[in-house]
């Protein structure tokens, strides 16, 4: 009788242990579930591709993407929106979340640089960053509340430029749209934005030493119900060769 | 100022054809049933609606001539009194009357003086500061008239001037209107469906039926010789159609009447007053040449007599006293004999 009990307990122990150590032989359950991911506007083109790749790797999962200006996304999380992962274009926008412990430690996953977008044909003949000081130039930037906007301010300060924009859009894609339509002579956007609009816009490169870098951060939202899956997604974005390869293709820079 | 109107106007597939003259200084009543085009005629004369062919001349001024001439209401010297008066509700009575002179260029002062004198001549001075919703129907009619007269028009057009009033007010207002019209030396044209208005106020009557003029003449001519059923009914007489020959009228639809007009030949109309028709329960003896049989179709009481409609050849309307009705004990369907003296009939060529 006791011998059988011993054996029974031993088997239970082994099986139990097995659950804690998912092996390559597939004893563990496959990842599944739905994730809601809020991502900064400048990730509008790249994240769907990364999400697709993730879903292909783990077929029982679904990624729902939500794009907006980084600070709007943060506000949504603060207001209690059911978001599992948040990816912003700067650390500062996510800082509020860190302070109120709404998000886990933010981790960098890619970098982006600023560039000057100009309409096809460069009608205002912009060749260098100091040209932006020209009187009467219609320059568009993002509002300082948005990462792209504060980056632009940093850019001007770093290069001691006295620049006046005519509009402070609420997300970087709006700036880009108005450059494409020709209503702006120039716009400060990300390198990735002009790359995604390849045939419809030109750009003037900002030398590396004069440029400002935007470091993108990703974080798991504290209230998430999909802790494991969220963590898996974050890891995928940061470390998988697939993800980094996609980002490189879109013009994003290495995170380190 | 004489008005010559010879035109046709079409609106929503209704065609109004007019060819008549309104003589200077006369009062003309345009009489017709609803839908006959009376209001359209008024609107055309006022310049509020255009014509499709023909011309209209006011005195020396061609106001309408197709295809190119159409003088706007502002350019015509017409004063219009609309049905329901159309007094401007946001202006006082005084301002309403002064509106015309003011629009034509007079200063505020002069316009007010003019308005004041109009109020006086119509006996409504005390109403000057009231708003249109604070005066009675009869008063409103006078204000509307004063407003139209204030611009000293050559032509005065009135659209059913008494229609909006109750029976009691009508009498006094009609008398009042008669006085005002007498005092006006231009051409007056008013539109009405009430023959009493025409009879009492007009020098001349133009009968309009279904867009065309069917009869023109003085009120007495109309009463004596109505030329259409409508006029006859209005005048309250029997109108009989037929072919006359040597004092005998072969009635259209059956029947024969003896008429005094022996020289009359051909298509003719005969007028027989309802009062001249006598009714008998049995075939009458006596001098009357016209005796025929029928039955009572309807009895219509009027305030001092009864109208009896009789189915016969020809059908006829007779009026008798209440006493006579009681004596004869008539009711619908009663067989009855009708007679009329030849001399009471007037026949004339169609």
């Amino acid at each position: 009788m006791t011998k059988m009990l011993h054996g029974f307990v031993a088997i239970a122990f082994v099986v139990g242990l097995g659950a804690f150590f998912p092996s390559a032989s597939g004893a563990a359950p496959k990842p599944s579930g739905t994730l809601t991911v809020s991502a900064a506007a400048s990730l509008t083109d790249v994240f769907p591709v990364i999400a697709d790749a993730f879903e292909k790797r783990y077929p029982d999962t679904e990624i729902k993407l939500n794009f907006a200006g980084s600070s709007t996304l943060m506000n949504q999380v603060i207001a209690g929106a059911p978001v599992d992962v948040i990816a912003t274009a700067s650390k500062s926008t996510i800082q509020i979340g860190i302070d109120s412990e709404l998000v886990a430690r933010p981790l960098r996953f890619t970098k982006n640089f600023l560039t000057i977008a100009v309409p096809l044909g460069n009608p205002a003949n912009i060749s260098k960053i100091s040209d932006l000081q020209r009187d009467g130039l219609l320059l568009g930037v993002c509002d300082t509340a948005v990462p792209c906007g504060s980056a632009a301010v940093e850019l001007f300060t770093k290069n001691t430029l006295d620049v006046t924009a005519v509009t402070r859009e609420l997300d970087v894609r709006s700036v880009l749209a108005k450059v494409i339509s020709g209503d702006l002579d120039a716009g400060i956007v990300y390198v990735t934005d002009v790359k995604s609009a390849e045939n419809r816009v030109e750009f003037v490169q900002i030398p590396f030493r004069d440029n400002v870098v935007a470091t993108y951060h990703i974080s798991v939202v504290a209230d998430t119900r999909e802790q494991q899956l969220a963590q898996r997604f974050v890891n995928f974005v940061r470390f998988s060769t697939t993800s980094q390869g996609i980002m490189r293709a879109f013009g994003f820079a290495k995170p380190w | 100022m004489k008005i010559t109107a010879n035109f046709s106007a079409i609106r929503n597939s209704f065609r109004l054809s007019i060819d008549t003259i309104f003589s200077a200084g006369t009062v003309t009543a345009v009489l017709g049933p609803n839908g006959s085009g009376k209001s359209t005629l008024l609107r055309v004369l006022a310049g509020l609606q255009g014509i499709d062919s023909g011309a209209i001349v006011f005195g020396n001024q061609v106001v309408n001539k197709t295809p190119s001439v159409h003088v706007a209401p502002q350019g015509r010297s017409v004063g219009v009194v609309f049905q329901d008066y159309a007094l401007f509700p946001h202006l006082s009575v005084m301002e309403n009357i002064a509106f015309g002179p003011r629009s034509l260029g007079s200063s505020k002062k002069v316009s007010q003086v003019r308005a004041q004198s109009q109020l006086e001549s119509l006996g409504i001075t005390e109403l000057g500061h009231r708003k249109p919703n604070q005066i009675s129907g009869g008063q409103a009619q006078r204000v509307a008239l004063a407003r139209a007269l204030a611009i000293e028009p050559s032509v005065l057009l009135l659209d059913e001037p008494l229609a909006a009033l109750d029976a009691q007010t009508k009498e006094s207002v009609r008398t009042e209107l008669e006085k005002q019209i007498d005092g006006f030396d231009g051409c007056v044209i008013f539109v009405t469906h009430d023959p009493l208005d025409a009879m009492l106020l007009a020098d001349r009557v133009v009968v309009l039926e279904d867009g065309s003029i069917t009869q023109e003449g003085t009120p007495s001519e109309l009463a004596a010789r109505p030329e259409t059923d409508y006029v006859a009914t209005l005048m309250g007489v029997n109108l009989i159609r037929g072919v006359a020959n040597q004092g005998v009228l072969q009635v259209e639809g059956g029947g024969v009447l003896s008429v005094p007009q022996v020289d009359l030949r051909g298509e003719a109309l005969a007028v027989l007053r309802p009062e001249a028709v006598t009714l008998h329960l049995l075939r009458p003896e006596g001098s009357a040449r016209n005796v025929w049989q029928g039955s009572v179709r309807a009895l219509t009481p009027m305030h001092d007599r009864i109208r009896v409609s009789i189915d016969a050849s020809p059908p006829v309307i007779a009026t008798i006293t209440h006493l006579a009705l009681a004596d004869l004990q008539l009711s619908v369907g009663t067989p009855i004999w009708v007679s009329a003296k030849t001399l009471t009939i007037e026949a004339f060529a169609k």
């Binding site: 200006g69 600070s71 709007t72 506000n75 219609l138 568009g140 509002d143 300082t144 509340a145 948005v146 924009a165 005519v166 509009t167 402070r168 859009e169 609420l170 709006s174 108005k178 339509s181 020709g182 209503d183 | 609107r43 006022a46 310049g47 509020l48 706007a72 209401p73 502002q74 015509r76 017409v78 004063g79 219009v80 609309f82 329901d84 159309a86 401007f88 509700p89 946001h90 509106f99 015309g100 629009s103 034509l104 407003r147 139209a148 611009i151």
Partner: protein, 252 residues
């Protein structure tokens, strides 16, 4: 019962807004240059837009009501289109028409050097575009209910069309006109999508109150709420001031 639900539905968010307003910081927030700038811009552009809407919209409404032009139905549908479009789409349409490379804008820029985007004039254009239909619809209703008889009478009394319109027609449709103008102004005041898309967002030039609120939302939520409260107070203030007029016209 459904009426009560509707009332609560409308009132509760407003109450929440009032409760959440940072009342201690309120005076400082609303007297800041940015806030005052935005308020000034909003009031000026909304009033100018209403004036333009009246200048062009009232005659348009009269033409529609009296069916003077052919294809009245089609014209009316075109005038109402901005009512049906999402404001951002209206902004895009305006860019396509009046932007620097727009259908008409290109001509204006190339020959006269005039542009509308990023200017205060652009704000007026955007708000007029979205708010005018409100005025046209209200006024058309007013004109329709006015019997032609009064205008006819005035004409026969010698008044030219302008005098008839100004002295007779307009005074008689005054209640509808007031309602239409207030509605139009309120819509212009609250306009966001078309303004930011067509005119952009720059303090003092194109950043009206709604844009200031949205921008503030990105950085400091309590400022956004305070600014919203200002808008609310101004709007309610005007409506209360006109309440007497509404009641009067109901009685008459």
């Amino acid at each position: 019962m459904p009426g009560l639900v509707a009332l609560l539905f409308l009132v509760i968010p407003l109450i929440a807004l009032i409760v959440q307003t940072p009342w201690e910081a309120f005076p400082k927030i609303i007297s800041s240059p940015e806030a005052l700038e935005a308020l000034r811009l909003s009031l000026v552009t909304s009033l100018v837009a209403t004036a333009f809407a009246a200048l062009f919209g009232i005659p348009m409404a009269w033409l529609l009501a009296r069916e003077i032009l052919p294809f009245t139905g089609l014209l009316r549908a075109l005038v109402i289109v901005p009512l049906l479009l999402p404001p951002v789409v209206s902004g895009v349409a305006l860019l396509e028409a009046l932007g620097r490379r727009g259908l008409v804008g290109a001509f204006l820029y190339d020959t006269l050097g005039i542009t509308f985007p990023f200017t205060t004039v652009g704000v007026v254009i955007a708000t007029t575009f979205v708010a005018m239909p409100f005025l046209v619809i209200t006024m058309e209703g007013g004109f329709r209910s006015l019997h032609q008889r009064y205008e006819d009478a005035a004409a026969t009394l010698g008044a030219g069309s302008r005098r008839v319109f100004l002295r007779i027609t307009m005074p008689m449709v005054a209640p509808a006109a007031i309602a239409g103008l207030v509605l139009c102004w309120a819509r212009a005041l609250g306009e966001f999508g078309a303004t930011i898309t067509f005119a952009g967002n720059f303090p003092g030039v194109t950043q009206t109150m709604p844009l200031a609120v949205y921008t503030a939302l990105e950085s400091d939520r309590s400022v956004a709420i305070a600014l919203s409260m200002v808008l609310l107070v101004v709007s309610v203030g005007v409506l209360v001031a006109l309440r007497g007029k509404y009641l009067q016209t109901r009685a008459s």
